[in-house]
Symmetry: C2
């Protein structure tokens, strides 16, 4: 039901993913009168899915507390999340209200053992392909331990999404020489290096311009900074697109040039299109929930469903659990070793 | 002496500003052997300037503490800042080591009364023109009072630079509904609104994508976030420029289109060029110091000198002092009024 266009985008988006992955089965949750007519237009999807009519739909402008009060147990959002909890679904994908989706996901699925707070991971287009950036807004403020949790979860997600064995991970920091960055970031860096995890390669600190370069596979930061960085990049891309449009329409020669280079411009637009790499992944919960951009088009929503499929198929949750356990074992060993040293 | 190209860029940059503003007089500080031959090539500048040979030049990779130890009193950087302190100069412009420049500026000029820590303000190109964004890296972490100081200083700079009477000011925050943002930001917003300053219009919260839109004249944030946002935007602009180059050279048709639209591309490049709006302004010190981007070209360095000239000519320091005094008067009045209320 969610997103700017509701079932008119979500249903065709799911149908598109089904074309690519005919082995997937879908549970579709929503208001019957809005969804049934759209689903009817996609016979293959109707065949491969079960529609579960719901009484309530969370609105895009509901406050999270309001959504929880009015929509718990009966809204399409809640029931889709709950299907992950009961095991009926491997992953939940929604284009709905982010705050409500996170609140309901936390309430219904609870955070994983050893994880204090969940994070939202974004897939970031880079010059080298794609990177994962987290947290982009689930939490404000993070101590070193939370940054370490984010690191483990982001690295596990990179292994599930990019199918690389040992992704590179960097901590976002700032480069003005006078200041060596946030204390929390420095402390997290020291602890991560010390643990020498086999599941990823710790690169060290990265700066804002490393995001677009794709210097590392995973960039870890606190949610306020991550959210500002994400929106700043989106804003800059839109700003340049607008400059480009204005420049290309100003003179006749530029317009002719534009027509000749149209194929190239289309490829550029595709590269710059946030819809192509859509899907914020909620990490740290007992189940996988994917947040599609509310403004995503059909292709964009399908991309978010694809991400969900990759996460489920490649065992994201098990990978996170495995890494967290290993990390805590190593930390205990390091702590014991240093106790031995100090007691001698 | 500073920047990636030293006097080869700085001296011609100053000469360019002199062409635009023949009324300016310059003091040039540097090593004689590097500077004198370059200055000799610009007779008008030689006429309008005094060269002060110095023994030491701070290196781009010196640590601030090292620069202070080795360069205090005798380096070209120190002596240029000191000229502002003694009143020989109205403003100091440097393309050198940012950390060293800030450390020396603080040491030599000291922070203004009522200001706890200085900030670096960047001039940000937007769809509506230019905005001021601060702090972009002088401090890490900020309480509400520091954000209020930044607000007063940024608004005064906007009045000096854009020559508007009542600039608009926004506090950078995040928009995920669940979280209403940082406590410090909310508290600062409340206090600023309450003070109802006549010298600027408080707009409220803005998000990362408002930076490129130019929603407000001044965006206030803490230095870690501001630095990440600035570098993320620069990185995104470079990333898109590289996509564009690749797209335009891929097919013959695209290359022909590029040639026809070249004028338009040149205008686009100019819009995207950070050198065009170069010059980070150190705010909150007893004197004006401008930091040019180290990688700036001649036009870029001239832009930084132009900014310095505008700041000095339009009385930036007096404007800041005036606003701070008024703000503290208003806060005292509000505090007194609420004491009256609570004692009744």
């Amino acid at each position: 039901m969610g997103g700017d266009h509701g079932p008119e985008v979500v249903v065709p988006g799911v149908a598109k993913t089904l074309e690519r992955h005919p082995e997937i089965r879908f549970l579709l949750f929503g208001l019957e009168e809005s969804c049934a007519p759209v689903i009817a237009r996609y016979p293959a999807l109707r065949e491969a899915s079960t529609f579960i009519p719901c009484e309530v739909a969370v609105r895009m402008d509901d406050k999270p507390s309001q959504a929880l009060r009015q929509g718990r147990y009966k809204s399409s959002m809640w029931r889709a999340i709950d299907a992950v909890k009961t095991g009926d679904a491997d992953v939940c994908v929604s284009a709905g209200n982010t705050g409500a989706l996170m609140a309901m996901s936390k309430f219904c699925l609870r955070t994983m053992a050893n994880i204090e707070r969940p994070a939202i991971a974004a897939i970031w287009p880079t010059l080298r392909g794609e990177s994962i950036v987290l947290d982009v807004g689930a939490t404000v403020g993070a101590d070193a331990q939370l940054l370490i949790d984010f690191t483990m979860m982001g690295a596990a997600m990179a292994r599930a999404l990019f199918e690389v064995e040992k992704p590179t991970v960097g901590l976002l920091n700032i480069g003005v020489e006078e200041i060596k960055g946030q204390e929390e970031v420095k402390e997290a860096g020291r602890l991560i290096r010390e643990a020498a995890m086999p599941s990823f390669e710790y690169y060290g600190f990265v700066e804002g311009d490393d995001l677009g370069k794709g210097t590392v596979d995973v960039v870890v930061t606190e949610g306020f900074v991550g959210n500002v960085a994400l929106k700043t990049a989106e804003g800059t891309a839109r700003q340049i697109a607008q400059y480009l449009r204005a420049a290309m329409s100003r003179t006749l020669l530029a317009r002719i040039g534009y027509i000749l280079a149209k194929g190239a411009f289309d490829r550029l637009r595709e590269k710059m299109d946030p819809g192509k790499v859509n899907g914020g992944v909620f990490l740290g919960l007992n189940g996988i929930v994917i947040k599609s951009h509310g403004g995503a088009d059909i292709e964009g929503f399908a991309a978010a469903v694809d991400v969900g499929y990759d996460m489920a198929r490649n065992g994201l949750k098990a990978k996170i659990e495995q890494d967290l356990n290993l990390y805590h074992k190593r930390r205990s060993a390091i702590a014991l070793a240093s106790d031995d040293v100090s007691s001698n």
